[in-house]
Symmetry: D3
Subunit: 279 residues, 6 copies
């Protein structure tokens, strides 16, 4: 039982939901430990082939809970005040990298993560959804780099990832003004893949896409995820070289033949799952 | 008094205007020394919180003035002809890096720079506006990599920055054909954030955005600018690490609390300005 | 005479056509040796100023021919089975880098390559067109990362290049689901520069663009191609420095003056062609 | 109680010893989980200011235990043979990155790790000691990239780190021939900081250095470690920028003043310890 | 007249001396503005072909003057205390990057800088000499990363450059222990090119080397400096490409022929000087 | 029959000798085409497991032949003078990258290349030997970056590679002064692995090392070469990841078991050769 999430796994699809709607799913301290644990558990145990991340209530998430603002710079509870003061920069840096690691677990896990967003996706919410593979939203969803409105610079991943997702000029405008971006604008900008009329139809639609993904060979899908992330962060030359050496071990003719036969017979293919992690 | 610009600072907004409309604001030798001086002066003295760069006359700018074409390869006036010939490559390289530095000053300064563009934005104009944070244009504005039409390869910054702003295939078409891009197309491509019917409404609109930006905490806005530029040029991993360590020194709880109170009371926040540069 | 291509050169435009429509222009072993040979020959001999790559039949290309699937991991025909087994990873890696080199020749050659795409552009077809400078398509053209449907991870260049051309979220959706993207969607995403009603009008349109490009100074166009590719794979700072030193040797005042005079007189400019390669 | 190590912490110095001398301290499966756990525990709890890593018996370590050779490619115990075959590349890659992570924990922890090496340091031993901060050896110690003698390419970290420690030509000779390098040669090459006559004098000497390090301000020492590792992997420009922003939060005038006073009074300084990790 | 330096230029050699021996040439605020001004002036005006940097008194330099320790975090004199507190991180970062820029001017200038070091080279002295091209020392010279002894992490350039000059294990030992390195050790490590018995013989020896350098073609020497610095910070592939395009503009056959004739006739060559900077 | 080389292959060792001693093995135009052809032929056909590169006569090589100096900037023989003038920068760049590619073939081939150097290794000779895996020299051998003495900046690979092989301060001194480095100095600097009394004993010694290398599993040795070169040009993190995925396809348990048995029985192992290249 988690404090911030509920989780169900069915048909190789893990559905992870934020479940503190009464607090607008703000990210409290537990959030940051639960999220990476859940993701690592699914991934290491090869318990699903795709993850859908959605939320409850009128808003996807309000971002970092205010209880964390004071926490981050002075986390060493056992130290006296003078010491905590000297440690403050080091503590902030450490805590922030831990928070970042929580979101990076979405990017690092071997299977795709699809975000289904309703209502407000605010502050840390942007960091969260940009670490997912794809984003789908309701018509009434909106997107805000709210940190500037609170005299902060977004720091759990917004800029390093958003800069790759939407035009740079809009990233800057969103960041400097703290303004809302609508679902329609987000779709045009490339942030969302699709916009749905409401949360119900969105979940149906996203589950359909997830089902399609779950029907493919997991090693191939997993390879795609790794290659896309790698390509984003490396030069063309390095990425080309990497995909060649990756496939030298991951390409399996038996899987290809099975896929061909399954396609021909219009039946689901039977593919090897990802290896469970043993170390 | 500047030869190529007029400058006014009001309400924390610096309005910098190119003022040689009769020469279509072509970039003469003075342009390249005046621009970085003005920007450095505003930035070092913390004299404004945002810069709006606009122009006068029917066209934003015609780009490099033709008087510079001969100059760039043989700038060492005191040398004899043989020596100048031997020095030509070295002189060209030096002069070009100086020109680039002038535009890079827009990117390097700590506060946002908003470009408001009317009519033609030609050749060096593209280099200029891509070094700004955001771009806004009139309906009749148009954008041209004109260098190819003059048997040159654009060299003051067009490609290194434009490649990050609009689809690569369009960068190539613009460069190889030297064709005009309309305001509407530029908006769709992501080059412009917004299109306005005319220069008057554009300046009003851009000043409104500038006012919004000037109301935010300068340290936070400045952090956003740094992070976005850093993220564009570094891997996700490096950018995540950098933003964590940046905020370890720049995040200030007192500013956050002031912002919260101000938001609640619906009044402007009172924030520390950027430190004046002393060294 | 080539097995997979026909080639004609006229008015400084090389028109290269895939000519195995009955096999949906699938990429057989010859394809991978013929393509780089043709490109290198045009480039080294300075035989054209632009290349148009089109296809024949209802579909642009079906991608890798199935005959290659078994080939790639066990190419050393002279070795016994045990040895081939031990060599399999090394052989796969080598073959794949050779295949990649074939497509990279399009990117590495000094003149622009324009792809004109009709019908299906499937699997290896995506790798092929992303290595071209610009892409134009017919209304009925469609684009598919088909490898996932065959339990493979695309490996001849799709991800390293596509990630730079269209929004990351869509790259991921295309890769994980193997779904088709229509011409209209491809245009909106930035993959295509223009959509034409049919192949006839497309070839007319693309030839017009090619003609425009062929009328510019080849050294300038070639410089643009190099700079854009370089900028895509390097930081802003490195790319700025590179373009300055590039132009220190490639900028030629005589070419500029000729271009100005030609523009004034509304006549074609007479420009130096690219040097023939001698080593 | 650990299977492969014994650990004692005294005077802010953690002494970690490999304690399977009868098996020449070969790295069995437990080794790879115990090592990162121990390091993380010391680091997170701020339990020491420096770590000394030594060994027992005639040899420092014989490297990877042979029991692992078969394990690495087929770790998913629950899968059937066909599946394991398809998964083999993926399993190998995963397991190897886990092994690498174990050694990288030495580099990633916030305090210096000093290796004190006697006798043979073989195969995986090279990977291990190159992930430490400094290396000290006995006169009879020797160093071997043994993997080549076993028809393998070293893969837990030897090359990525050794290439930065000794001349490239010697790295290559060691790798291609699998030959031993003596302590004297290792000192000349820069691999060892100092050579001691025997293990007893070495441990005395290394503990003296460790004591010296433990007397310095932990935040300063930790900053040095981070900066050196960062500088090794980044350009001069990026590393300069990073150290400036790092110190913006970590430089503490009170610590400096305390250090000055302590130096003057020739007494130990009283410095803040590293913050305990709370997330 | 400078406060921290005396300068003489003779036979194309600029001799720059630190001249506050009574204060052990500690780096006061003026030091940081004077140094880059002097270097830029020599470089822009092409006033010398090589710079020799030496010092006076028993010690080369004691590093940063203590007067700067408080200054760096609160430089904005006009601000009130609360504001200065909020600005402290930003002020520190800015000031430190300015200090770094002062040393980087040695690396960035177009001509070689030779450091001739006597006695103690402490703290900031390491940052200073690592930014020079070559280092020569007296037998009694010694080298210390003293910052750790003052509870600081060296931040004006020590690690980013030293890591490229001496074995990593020794950088770490010097940094963590703050110990002295002797001239002999420094020579063995590669930090010094040569050791001289005393300052007199050192200055004679270094001037001889400087004279040799000044006799070569300045464009060629300048190209070497640029290429070596570039190669240090880029991949082999990028550096190869850069040197090819650099020489495309800087290689001058007339200079080569003059050099050959001069060599043959055993007379000094007459070479073009570096172009004076005009922008 | 080659104009610049003689080649013999015996016991899996290819011995490649420069054979124009009467011209001090200067690098004429044929040299640049013959070298990469020979290397590619050995490599693609898997004709040897190691290459020894030696020379004849009193000197290893005098570097680039003077006949090339004029050639490089005006290689397009068919063009008229005006055109050649406009093309000069482009032609120089192209030719130089071709020359570089010739030397890079030594680095890119899958098997180790050992250089055995007698007498003078001058100018282009430095570029040549730094592209080899290891360097061995006679007592009377010497090493000179001679280009500076000819008013040139070395451009076929000296700096990009030498900077990784010997201390930066010495690279700079060699480059700026054009002075000779003796064999003893070269050994101390790390440029040479070993010094032999004369060419006869050197060839015996180097052949012994080559024989040792040829006895190892070719796939393992080849993997080492790739990993070392990759590690040199990538960050620690990227290199670790790469070696893990490389071995996922190249590690073969059967080879390991054969190596173990062979070691035990003190007999040569029977290993798979590198796959012949088929594409």
């Amino acid at each position: 039982m988690y404090k911030c999430f509920s989780l169900s796994i069915k048909n190789n699809i893990a559905h992870l939901q934020m479940n503190r709607p009464e607090k607008r799913n703000s990210m409290i301290l537990d959030f940051w430990t639960e999220l990476p644990e859940i993701i690592a558990d699914i991934d290491a145990g090869s318990k699903a082939r795709v993850i859908v991340l959605s939320s409850t209530g009128p808003h996807f998430t309000a971002g970092l809970d205010k209880s964390l603002f004071a926490f981050v710079s002075e986390a060493d509870r056992e130290a006296d005040e003078d010491t905590r003061n000297i440690q403050s920069g080091a503590a902030f840096y450490h805590n922030m990298t831990q928070f970042q690691t929580a979101f990076t677990s979405l990017e690092a896990c071997r299977i795709p993560v699809l975000a289904a967003i309703q209502g407000g996706c605010i502050g840390g919410g942007i960091d969260l959804i940009t670490a997912c593979d794809m984003r789908y939203g309701t018509e009434n969803s909106f997107y805000t780099i709210f940190e500037t409105n609170l005299a902060m610079t977004a720091d759990v991943g917004t800029f390093p990832r958003l800069i790759n997702l939407i035009p740079e000029g809009v990233v800057r405008e969103m960041a400097y003004t703290g303004r809302n971006v609508t679902a329609t604008e987000a779709k045009t900008l490339g942030l969302l893949n699709r916009v749905y009329p409401d949360q119900g139809s969105m979940l149906l639609g996203v589950m359909e896409i997830a089902t399609e993904i779950a029907s493919k060979a997991p090693l191939a899908v997993s390879g795609c995820k790794k290659m896309i992330t790698y390509s984003r962060d490396h030069s063309t030359k390095d990425a080309l070289d990497y995909v060649a050496i990756w496939n030298a071990s991951h390409f399996k003719l038996t899987e290809v033949l099975e896929a061909m036969e399954a396609n021909k017979a219009d039946r689901p293919g039977h593919f090897a799952s990802l290896p469970k992690r043993c170390v």
